[in-house]
Symmetry: C3
């Protein structure tokens, strides 16, 4: 598995650099710049557009759509749903980043509304964000059991089935599942938690992989392995967040498909 998945990730990275897919982001103010730079640096083409009267047209031009509720307000949620429905209609992959879901009722309700109205191919979040999305009658266990990634596979599988999507739950070890398959990715570096927007950037990077790979579990694993490997490389060059943030963008640009294939740390099940 590890070998095969590494090959898939490498092939997808080469395809992104070849096709430069347009990724439409409706995302938060804090990370717009860094996210756009990460997508450009890896070889994709970012566009940020949120106006309700242009998102349908914009998403029609794009190969994937990112919905990120990091600095949400009602009008942006309306635009996200409009863009997401159009993307669903056109069969384009949509990835949701439910930033802060569970922390405020607006965020939890907005994330749930998006999931209900849009065909979301992947949801990327940390354990508490992901768990906040479960229905009131969910069969999942409580929050505590999910804060340990190692013990969380069963809960995640139940939740992925309930939400009918692929979950990419990130942490020291990432866990990806569509309810059947489970892949863990252990690439990464602790300094990734000390710069803002690495979660959001992971989401945007997965979107680029979804643009060239229809298999949502595989694309999520590839994207997280790629970004985590970039973190590892950056962590060998920088020991504080400012320099790390810059080296991370550099690594995203310089990692070759061969390096990615060799560097992926996947584990199945």
């Amino acid at each position: 598995m590890e070998k095969r998945s590494g090959e898939n990730a490498a092939r997808s990275l080469a395809a992104i650099r070849d096709k430069k897919p347009l990724i439409h982001n409706i995302t938060n103010y804090v990370v717009m710049n860094y996210t756009a730079n990460a997508l450009l640096s890896m070889g994709a083409s970012p566009v940020m557009a949120h106006a309700e009267n242009e998102v349908e047209e914009m998403v029609s031009l794009a190969s994937a759509l990112v919905l990120n509720i990091g600095t949400l307000s009602d009008d942006w949620i309306a635009s996200m749903i409009k863009a997401g429905k159009k993307a669903s209609e056109l069969g384009k992959p949509v990835i949701l980043d439910p930033v802060g879901s569970g922390a405020t009722s607006l965020r939890t309700a907005s994330a749930k509304e998006i999931i209900e109205q849009v065909k979301v191919r992947v949801i990327r979040g940390n354990p508490s964000e992901i768990l906040s999305l479960r229905h009131s009658d969910s069969k999942t266990k409580g929050v505590d059991s999910v804060h340990s990634v190692a013990d969380a596979a069963d809960t995640a599988k139940i939740l992925a089935k309930e939400l009918n999507t692929t979950l990419a739950i990130t942490g020291p070890v990432d866990l990806i599942t569509d309810g059947e398959r489970v892949i863990r990715v252990s690439n990464g570096h602790p300094l990734m938690a000390r710069i803002t927007g690495t979660g959001c950037t992971a989401t945007a990077i997965i979107a680029a992989f979804l643009a060239v790979d229809e298999d949502a579990v595989r694309a999520s694993a590839s994207g997280l392995a790629f970004f985590g490997l970039a973190g590892e490389i950056a962590g060998r060059k920088a020991s504080a967040p400012g320099s790390f943030m810059i080296e991370l963008l550099n690594a995203i640009y310089t990692i070759s498909p061969e390096e990615l294939e060799a560097g992926c740390k996947f584990m199945e099940g």
Copy 2:
């Protein structure tokens, strides 16, 4: 005094890194990313949230609130006041950054409205911004007398009493007063004026110190000394704004409580 204050600053920095207080920012678009990175880098936890229907809930989770009018509009001001009132109610420290107050009537009026409706613990601004906040019948002297920080202590003390808050007036030498006590901080570096948002970042950093120190004068002085010292360290590594901006984030991360204690440049009265 210098020694004691350095000890306090060091203790607060250690407390921030230990407790990772959540700092709720309603701030301007330009600096959101850099501010969030500065807070993360120093050890605090930033959150940016501006929607009127979630700010009360968000500020309830936070340990301090930053209100920054750098790219204001009417709906954001409404959210700021709502969040600020809730914070006042809950006894949480609020710091106001009246960016551009005095330059346009919208900014001056908005800053004054916030001050009137919210219990603001600290106002951080440059001399002209701070002076623009005085009432029409203020006993303070004109703008000219305040543009020299050295001569400004008396004016600042009167104004702090009138506004019933602590003023942190920043410049080559910072002046902090609650109307009674006066502390000057001379840490800093000229390149801090050549990157955008250092004033706003100073405000957010003071918020983190306010989260662990109830004494507003002391917390403001600690925050400004810490950030100024980071500037000095960055200035030894970088000689142009791009690199300086990165080294500043690095220094915020690497400064130890001991270095801060040794590096504080305070002067009382």
Copy 3:
């Protein structure tokens, strides 16, 4: 010509650093931070303000106005037009960056509406954005002929006359024309296309040159040569986008008028 234009560019750069002109930007969320840093780094004073009830007052304080539709929505367009009209009235230079015009109908219509209602001194865009601005009865040839900058001078001249402005069409070689004169600028570096907002930053930098030089063709050429030269210098220090982005800000700060005079790559006609 080359020599004379280099002298003009150098003189303008010195004037910007001397006068620190205030540049009012109504621009997109993605690039606000980088644009502000570029303006500060080169010696100008940036301000970002978009509220409809303050843009007239703000632009009255400024020496030039940037209108950038990169993340537009209806209310921001209204503010842009209000600010632009006031600037026109006061004889202040306005530069438009029609980001994505031609990609969605909202962008194309908004750019055209701004051009109709505001006296725009310069429009800076890539060939497809610029060409999307032509009237339905335009005498210009189709898009294909304009995607080669070398063949595009005639089309650009016709379009500049039709729109009654100066066009700064950027690409590997930039082409500037007011319908009569044509200047080409060949400064630049390929990595400029791998970080977000370099087009928007070019626009803001031209605005700073317009603030000290009434000749729109010359100011545009000076600004693009300056920024392109900064790219060349950055490209000698950095080989990946993260570091390049930082070195670009450094170069903007360190380039002296003499270096600029020597480094300009102009070609007339």
